[in-house]
């Protein structure tokens, strides 16, 4: 599954970031690396973007950016 499919409060482990484009590079720079844990904290008023907790900080991603991240629920 991908990161955009998480339910609020769910914690997942990152498997891989797909693609080599600007978005996936930025995601990796922000610390989204395979093996890392990530939690969905909430959604913006129209359901997009999403707020995550990763590496002890809060990160907001759009749905289509979250789609680049393959995860598994722990």
């Amino acid at each position: 599954m991908t990161l955009n499919q998480l339910i609020k409060g769910q914690i997942a482990r990152i498997i891989e970031i797909k693609g080599e484009d600007a978005i996936s590079i930025r995601l990796m720079e922000m610390g989204l690396i395979d093996g890392e844990q990530i939690q969905l904290l909430g959604k913006a008023p129209l359901g997009d973007p999403l707020e995550f907790a990763v590496r002890g900080y809060r990160l907001s991603l759009r749905l289509n950016e979250a789609k680049c991240v393959e995860v598994e629920i722990i």
Partner: protein, 777 residues
């Protein structure tokens, strides 16, 4: 620097020793870099003492902020670089930081040391950038800022051990409270300028082998091989700026070689770009083992608790709307009285000048050119200051990122992102602070799009134009009312339509710019939501002050110059002697009237004879007065008709005729180039009322209602009024906006583009409204 020194040596052979001593006394250049939201600007202000020279780097839209300081007799230049998560440049703007750090940026010597500021409560991620900076081999001081916040979250960092492991100084600070600044200064002064450290090889062997091959390849093509750091970037950044640079500046299969190298790396299990993040984050985690202690289970922070409400799907949105309404309202209402005072002061200063200088070209230049020009600049200042105050508070507290988060989905339907919302909303008050507020948008194309559509938002300067023409030509039909209070009226609907038309047009314009002009640029919305904190008053004051100052100094001088030019065009080449004589006479008569009125007041208690004679005298004077005014207005209107401005108006009459305008309106439009509201006073002058009229002036409303073409037809009717309003809703008649645009984009291209497209839209809009309107009536 070395080359310069050897030149110096060869010129003064005998003084080699003394010139080398001078090296140590030379200015040190210190670059300051860090992740966004780490308190970098607060730290910069603390270090520079609030005195920074603000400018622009050539060719990019990046602000150049340099603070020159002297610490313990040592001169230093502190160069503030934009906040960034990584040194992997994707655009020319991001390349700037790399160029500065490598000493490749003209006008900035290679830094002797780098200050890397990191958020102590989020160290692991902040060390990613730091690890890239270590690759530059320049001495670097790691600043762990917001140590208090980290402690409050139960995070403890052994700074001494960290420094030991890194081989670089590490300083803990709380920049908000000025704590740790002294230690940081000492650490910087302790650095030996020009020293270089060995770069730790974090990547696998195969990577460095490819780098050497690539260097050889580059050497065969260029006289000088680029620094290792750039070769690394070339290899690592797929589709990055360095790659596209070399693609355009080299040949002989370099790019093919690069692709092959990347394939080989992938096969050896070191696939770019993923390798870099894996390697650097692995390094930072390893480095922090035993240095950083944090609680196993992260408890919910105060910031998280606030966020549960402020980013709540329903309540968060409501709070945002209320907050924005409050900001917007404040910009309008708080600025109003101050703006009135500036206007009053302008009139008062004009009055003082008039009382000292007899009517003549000098007085006209001073009062109508200089004072009106300065006033025209200062009038924007209250709105800029108030808006910037709010922006600084919102940004410093961490709310700005939430605002972007909440508005992103809506703004994306316009082809923009959440970060564009506040600049565009601010532009409803005034495009000048709105454009200045686009600095929060890091993506260059998104920022340019926002800057280009910002002047379409209906700013407060358009209201006088709307008010005048609506009052004069739109019938006051009320459709729905509550007692005396009319809630829905035709006038209200027209006013609403006029103030929304720009925003509506902005949608396709933004779409066109994003899809056609700035195609292929995906702006990721990967954004950190920083923890909330109290805004520092020092930071807020400093930012409001520096924005206000840079507006007055930079944009102000140009707006001022434009006002003088328009004044000159309206003044020359006419013979103003009669006008001046009339002015003199009017002033004498005015003074006499005042005197007689005073006498009359005194005489009222005395004999009735005296009162009578005084009243007769007053009556005579008043009729002379009105005759003189009439004559003066006639003379003034003839003068403006024969001025260069008037000639230009006649010249463009064929162009504006399809819009239903006569030459007078044409002149008004040209003369309103410095600011839209100038059209009111210009129309006042042309319709021989003298220059001093307001939008509610009954005289002006009356005279435009009866104005006729030479053949006796009325000039103004509803379609003409609508056509003028639509024109002003869409045009770029605002020198201040164009000047700020030029300042913010560091180029004349964008103001010219903006002026051209907006004037075209305005013309077409006005043409359409007039022609369709005429068909309907």
């Amino acid at each position: 620097m070395k080359a310069a020194l050897s030149d110096l040596d060869s010129m003064t052979n005998s003084s080699t020793v003394s010139s080398q001593q001078a090296v140590h006394q030379q200015k040190m250049t210190i670059a300051i870099i860090g992740n966004p939201n780490t308190g970098k600007s607060t730290l910069f202000n603390q270090l520079s003492g609030g005195h920074a020279h603000i400018g622009n780097f050539p060719g990019v839209t990046v602000e150049k902020k340099v603070g020159s300081v002297t610490w313990e007799g040592r001169k230093l230049d502190l160069v503030d670089l934009p906040g960034t998560y990584s040194l992997a440049p994707r655009s020319i703007d991001e390349m700037l930081a790399v160029d500065v750090l490598l000493g490749r940026q003209k006008g900035v010597p290679r830094p002797d040391a780098i200050i890397c500021i990191a958020d102590a409560s989020n160290l692991e991620r902040n060390l990613y950038l730091f690890s890239q900076i270590l690759d530059l081999s320049t001495p670097v001081v790691l600043v762990l800022n917001m140590c208090d916040l980290a402690r409050s979250r139960g995070i403890e960092i052994d700074a001494a051990e960290l420094s030991q492991r890194l081989g670089q100084p590490v300083v803990c600070t709380e920049a908000h409270h000025g704590k740790g600044i002294k230690e940081l200064k000492a650490a910087i002064l302790n650095i030996d300028p020009g020293s270089r450290h060995e770069v730790q090889q974090l990547f696998p062997e195969s990577f460095y082998a490819e780098r050497s091959q690539l260097r050889e390849k580059l050497k065969s093509q260029q006289d000088e091989s680029p620094p290792d750091f750039l070769i690394d970037r070339l290899l690592l950044d797929v589709g990055g700026y360095v790659e596209s640079y070399f693609e355009h500046h080299t040949h002989n299969g370099l790019i093919e070689h690069l692709h092959a190298a990347r394939t080989r790396l992938k096969e050896s299990g070191c696939a770019v770009p993923a390798t870099e993040a894996r390697v650097r984050y692995g390094w930072s985690r390893e480095l922090l083992k035993g240095v950083l202690h944090q609680p196993e289970v992260q408890q919910e922070t105060a910031s998280d608790k606030i966020d549960r409400w402020l980013t709540h799907p329903a309540f968060g949105f409501l709070f945002f709307i209320v907050l924005m309404f409050f900001v917007f309202q404040s910009v309008f209402t708080w600025a109003g009285p101050i703006m009135d005072q500036i206007e009053a002061a302008q009139t008062a200063v004009g009055g003082i000048v008039e009382s000292f200088i007899a009517p003549g070209p000098l007085r006209s230049l001073l009062v109508d050119g200089v004072i009106a020009g300065v006033g025209g600049v200062l009038i924007f200042l209250p709105q800029i200051v108030i808006l910037y105050f709010f922006i600084a508070v919102l940004e410093d507290s961490g709310y700005m990122a939430r605002a972007a988060y909440i508005m992103d989905r809506l703004m994306r339907s316009l082809g923009l992102s959440g970060k564009s919302f506040i600049p565009l909303m601010s532009s409803y008050a005034c495009a000048v602070p709105g454009i200045m507020a686009t600095r929060v948008i890091e993506n260059r194309h998104e920022r340019l799009t926002t800057i280009l559509v910002a002047p379409l938002m209906s700013c407060s300067a358009r209201w006088p134009v709307y008010t005048l023409f609506i009052a004069a030509f739109i019938p006051n039909v009320v459709y729905f009312s509550l007692g005396d209070l009319s809630l829905i009226s035709l006038q209200g609907i027209v006013l609403f339509a006029m103030s929304s038309i720009g925003a509506v047009i902005a949608v396709p314009v933004a779409w066109f710019l994003k899809r056609v002009c700035f195609k292929g640029d995906v702006a990721p919305f990967v954004m950190e939501l920083p923890g909330y904190k109290w805004p520092s008053s020092r930071n807020v004051i400093y930012r409001v002050y520096s924005r206000g100052k840079s507006f007055v100094v930079k944009a102000g001088t140009l707006i001022f110059a434009t006002s003088i030019l328009i004044w000159a065009a309206g003044y020359f080449p006419g013979n103003h002697s009669e006008q001046f004589a009339l002015q003199q006479q009017i002033e004498t008569v005015d003074a006499t009237v005042e005197k007689v009125e005073g006498q009359l007041e005194v005489a009222k208690g005395e004999t009735s004879e005296q009162v009578e004679s005084l009243e007769v005298q007053l009556k005579n004077l008043e009729s002379t007065q009105s005759l003189l005014y009439e004559r003066q207005n006639l003379v003034s209107s003839q003068l403006i008709e024969n001025s260069y401005l008037g000639k230009a108006g006649h010249l463009i009459e064929p162009v504006v005729k399809p819009l239903g305008w006569d030459w007078k309106i044409g002149v008004g439009v040209i003369a309103s180039f410095p600011a839209r509201e100038v059209i009111i006073s210009t129309l006042g002058t042309i319709y021989s009322l003298g220059g001093d009229v307001g939008e509610d002036d009954e005289g002006l409303i009356g005279s435009i209602r009866v104005a006729t073409w030479p053949d006796g037809r009325k000039v103004f009717n509803v379609p003409v009024a609508i056509s003028i309003m639509v024109f002003f809703a869409l045009c770029a008649q605002c020198a201040a906006t164009l000047m700020v645009m030029r300042r913010e984009t560091n180029s004349w291209v964008w103001p010219v583009v903006s002026f051209t497209y907006m004037t075209t839209l305005a013309y077409l809009g006005a043409l359409l409204s007039y022609q369709v309107g005429m068909m309907l009536i």
